[in-house]
């Protein structure tokens, strides 16, 4: 596989779309890529500039490439909005769909606002704007995981990730009758790990891990969740 194909794969850019231009001098630790639909050609980095469609170019912050920010430039047409392309973003949004999913996953895992800014090198203002849009239903996330998780938590009455019930389950302070084999095995593993972990943040991560399992499998865990809700 060629390097340019690997980069496209990393950025979730699939044919017929491809990177037609790239610059790394527009910002510190920043990679700017221009994406368009065109025929393959040789020497795309140093080759002649390509004619882009006569529509306005739009810019979104995309998932990082290593330690570098990645900014996608593309001239979008109306039909592209319906394709759920991961490397473009919704109207009025700063982030691409792929980065939006990544951020939402971090929120779901209980990672703090400031930590997400630091981890992903995102300006706090951009993240506030994104969070506000998310909270007010102005954007939707195309990732299946996230959609299922959001509806699951609300529909099945799963306690929040920082609820003490998760720590009680992990430390054995709370025992419930478990029917799901995967939960029996997971909880055994996590309880073993908790015996060795003293760092509060790492212990909290384990609670989030267990919470994530319940969110993901809520529909199969009615027996277990009924017992948890009583605590």
């Amino acid at each position: 596989m060629k390097y340019e194909d690997l980069l496209c794969q990393a950025l979730e850019i699939e044919p017929p779309w491809q990177i037609v231009r790239m610059r790394n001098d527009l910002g510190r630790h920043q990679l700017d890529v221009w994406v368009a639909r065109e025929m393959p050609r040789r020497g795309w980095i140093f080759g002649p500039r390509h004619a882009l469609p006569e529509v306005p170019e739009r810019v979104w912050r995309h998932i990082n490439v290593g330690q570098s920010r990645c900014v996608v430039h593309a001239a979008t047409t109306a039909d592209m909005a319906h394709m759920a392309l991961p490397w473009i973003g919704a109207a009025e949004q700063v982030f691409t769909h792929a980065l939006s999913r990544q951020i939402a996953t971090h929120f779901m895992e209980g990672i703090k606002f400031q930590s997400i800014c630091k981890l992903l090198d995102i300006p706090a203002g951009d993240l506030w704007k994104f969070k506000h849009s998310l909270d007010h239903g102005k954007i939707s996330l195309s990732g299946k995981d996230t959609l299922m998780a959001d509806s699951g938590q609300a529909q099945f009455g799963i306690p929040e990730a920082d609820h003490p019930v998760w720590d009680a389950l992990l430390t054995g302070g709370l025992d419930i009758e478990i029917r799901a084999l995967s939960l029996k095995l997971l909880l055994t593993k996590l309880r073993g790990q908790m015996q060795l972990i003293s760092d509060p943040e790492v212990r909290q991560m384990k609670a989030h891990e267990l919470h994530h399992y319940f969110v993901r499998h809520a529909i199969q865990l009615s027996h277990e969740l009924a017992q948890i809700r009583q605590n």
Partner: protein, 323 residues
Amino acid sequence: MTTEGLMPVAAVAELIREGHYLSLAGDEAALRQLPLGHWIGGTIPYFMAATGGTVSRDQVFVQPVTGFAAAPRLRLYDAGSLPQLCRNAPDHGFSLLIVPAFSTCHGDFARNAPNYEDMYLKPLAGWVAGTHLDDAGHATPQVVLGSSGEFSAEHAVVMDVELPPERFAQIDIVNPFKPGDGDAISFPDTGFSVDICRVNGEAMHLADYLCALEVDTRLPLVADYCGASVNVSIKHIDAAARRVEFYAPVFPGLTYRLAIASGESAPPGIGGDVSPMFACNCILNFLYEGLEGQPAGALTGPATFGEIGYQLLNQTQVVLTIR
């Protein structure tokens, strides 16, 4: 036309040519007669068939995969990529895994599967391929990627199956054993063989302990995983070397006890509209319980050199149902 169960090679070949997605188990010679297609397979000649426990070198056990949302993905994993198994699995669906016994993949999976990324988040079932016991020493357990016809004694083969949103996969185990109420045995390290253990907190050689009790080595050690009984079967006690070998690793941090019968025979909810998509039993149950010629009960499938219900299991039936 029958599409599942133990059947002649020609009938299986016909199913493959019709384009069915299949999980297959059979003797190597039988599997080598099959055409390329949407199937994965592993070598084993022992089966719990609808007609009862069977040893056959010329028939193949067929477990069709149906009801998927997208065409299942079939691929081989080497020992280096196997830890990505669950991460690569579909977000909503299940994976069937076959691992050749005695391979690096087998050993690594047995030791490390609980720590694979996304383990327990995505349903994973499967089995360990083996050989006829008469062939021990000159035959090698193998898996097959039916889409390419590649046989491998070193790779694991996987079928990743994506399900529609309204259906989900559930994995259950049926264990004829549970922990007894005897001594608590624990181990300092993960391993397939053990010298020193702790019995009720006191350090001693496990071999000495088991020999002194004249333990029936057909009974496994059993650990309680939050209500799931997980066996570790005893392969051999070397009294002179004071060493015990197992068919699966023991893990530190768990309490094991000698097994007693559990009385379990079938998982709850099997029957009616819910029928297994995949099931397997253990060759040790097949041999120790004398199952050849005996009725199979609700679950049919290969009798294997190890069962996979998320992680490696011993002397346990694994069943995957779609609900």
